[in-house]
């Protein structure tokens, strides 16, 4: 970082090195402190989830009788696998529809000017200004009008394609050079062929971002499923966790912790396995207006 100007004495150089080493130590110290703040609560929850049934939760930091028993018990007393199944139905629908429709919409918006493009674009951007919470009552009425209350389709449909994803795909397609498209036209490729063979393969990074964010969105959403779903058979995982926390019959924090960890750990695996694509794709598809 700090460069030593030429002509300094050896002593000053040595004190500079000492100061740098001190700075590095301070940096690692701060990093470790932040690590405790950021991961501490999660680790504490995890440790609680593997504590034995007979040991006191506060007897030391590490469990004395570590066990996976709590995970088995939570799966036995709560239909957690059913919740996961319901969530996966919504998530798979959301990922598929978002990737397909956002790519198609983004393609249309990125290609040469057509009549009405500016109007459509403005309308799409305008809808980004309405916070979900301020339209959720009307959205609920619309979904109820379609007869989709208390169905997984009703949970999925309003998020089937998000405007933000259309914009991400548009930005990625804008980066495709015109020459590539012209070459494909010369080869006799029609519009759909150009879309599927030329454009989609060149926007893999942005598609990965759409895939990851729509999966995580469906997996993590709480408020909308809370409005739409009433029958606990249809609950998504996040709603199921709420009943787990609120259940007065099981006042056992180990079970709640096991449930929370069962929801978090797959998500962490999913994200950290794909994070290369995520951070790369975010840069590639940076939204430009």
């Amino acid at each position: 970082m700090s460069t030593t100007p030429a002509g300094e004495t050896d002593r000053a150089d040595r004190s500079g090195r000492a100061r740098r080493r001190l700075g590095l130590a301070a940096r690692y110290g701060t990093l470790l402190l932040m690590l405790v703040v950021m991961l501490g609560p999660i680790v504490w929850q995890f440790l609680t989830s593997i504590r034995g049934r007979t040991e006191n939760v506060y007897d030391g930091v590490l469990p004395t009788q570590p066990t996976l028993d709590n995970y088995v018990r939570v799966a036995e007393s709560f239909p957690i696998l059913q919740y996961v199944g319901n969530t996966l139905v919504v998530a798979v629908l959301a990922v598929t529809s978002n990737m397909l429709f956002a790519a198609m919409g983004g393609y249309a918006l990125s290609r040469a000017a057509w009549k009405g493009r500016e109007v459509v674009f403005t309308v799409l951007v305008a809808t980004l200004m309405f916070p979900f919470e301020s339209v959720m009552i009307s959205m609920f009425l619309t979904v109820r009008g379609m007869g989709l209350v208390d169905t997984l389709v009703g949970v999925w449909l309003p998020g089937a394609v998000s405007v933000l994803n259309i914009m991400i795909m548009r930005a990625a397609f804008l980066a495709v050079p015109k020459e590539v498209e012209e070459a494909a036209v010369l080869d006799g490729a029609g519009e759909w062929t150009r879309f599927t063979r030329v454009f989609v393969p060149s926007a893999k990074g942005a598609l990965a971002v759409v895939c990851i964010t729509s999966f995580m969105g469906a997996w993590d959403d709480f408020l909308w499923p809370l409005l739409v779903l009433t029958d606990s058979d249809h609950y998504t995982l996040q709603l199921g966790l709420k009943t787990l926390a609120g259940a007065t019959t099981v006042n056992d924090q180990r079970l709640v912790a096991a449930g929370a960890m069962a929801a978090l750990l797959p998500m962490m695996l999913f994200f950290f396995a794909l994070q290369r694509f995520f951070f790369k794709g975010v840069g590639e598809g940076a939204v430009k207006f």
Partner: protein, 297 residues
């Protein structure tokens, strides 16, 4: 049409065909709900029946409704506390993890982990830290710092503060990534020049880094303000369905759900509160935009 693109095979309706699924969804679940909310806000509609036009009655009622003012106060307070935290702390964190030193990738991923966790999971994790028999209270009691457990989750004000802590904790890693991108654009030569002039790290942070990332700070400020007005799940999980004792920690989205749904749901009145929430959000977005423009001009 072919003339300006040089591409054949393009019928005038082709773009519409590609956009059709997206447009249908946006009209059905983006535009229409907003228009419908505006319309409903002028009616006395209930969840199980339509309503008649009542003019501004719902808005008059909101202005006179103590619950509305408690919720608005909570939402605005939330914003005023959380936004400065989420503008400055993630910047400091980004500066911290920017150094290319061994193991830094691990720290970055670790700091991003709370972002991946859902709001419900995060709520459950912190509930277990903050409950009357939770980690913090147990440690406090063993150290004889308190005789009675601190009511982190059972007092409305404390509950709100606890939820703010959770929001900031979960937002740190998210906005850290924004700042990492912005810091990448700060020329290293500026820092080197300042270091030669004898400016220490703290001084360089305030006189070089902060001015360089100011546009990003305004963006983060706007985004975190909008999401602060949307807070629901943290309070629901930490404080329960009622939103704290007597609903004292309810935010506007909390109130909208309680008023608008259920068997006695007053969709008309809830829509009026929704519009007021929208206007509040719009106000803060415009403020953010204005500050950005003023900064550029």
């Amino acid at each position: 049409m072919e003339a300006d693109t040089g591409l054949p095979h393009r019928a005038w309706w082709t773009p519409y065909l590609f956009l059709a699924p997206g447009l249908v969804m946006v009209v059905l679940f983006g535009l229409w709900p907003f228009v419908n909310t505006v319309i409903l806000s002028f009616t006395d509609a209930r969840i199980l029946r339509g309503g008649g036009f009542v003019g501004l009655d719902n808005y008059r009622r909101a202005v006179a409704d103590p619950d509305f003012w408690v919720a608005t106060g909570n939402s605005v307070l939330y914003l005023l506390v959380v936004v400065p935290c989420l503008v400055f702390l993630p910047l400091a964190l980004a500066v911290l993890v920017r150094a290319k030193i061994p193991g830094i990738g691990f720290f970055r991923s670790a700091f991003y982990t709370p972002v991946i966790a859902s709001a419900v999971v995060v709520g459950l994790i912190w509930q277990w830290v903050l409950r009357s028999d939770g980690l913090v209270n147990t440690v406090f009691r063993r150290l004889h710092l308190v005789s009675e457990p601190v009511p982190f989750l059972t007092d409305s004000t404390m509950l709100l503060v606890s939820a703010m802590i959770v929001t900031v904790w979960k937002g740190l890693g998210y906005y850290m990534v924004f700042y990492l991108a912005a810091l990448g654009n700060v020329p290293a030569s500026l820092h080197e020049a300042a270091a030669i002039d004898g400016a220490g790290p703290v001084r360089r942070f305030f006189s070089i880094t902060v001015p360089q990332v100011k546009p990003m700070m305004l963006l983060v400020g706007t985004l975190s303000a909008i999401s602060a007005l949307r807070v629901f799940t943290e309070i629901y999980i930490l404080g329960g369905e009622s939103g704290g004792p007597g609903g004292g920690a309810r935010t506007l989205p909390f109130l909208i759900r309680q008023v608008g749904l259920g068997f006695a749901g007053e969709t008309g009145y809830a829509s009026a509160i929704s519009i007021l929430l929208f206007l509040l959000t719009l106000g803060f977005s415009l403020l953010g935009r204005r500050l950005t423009k003023g900064d550029e001009g």
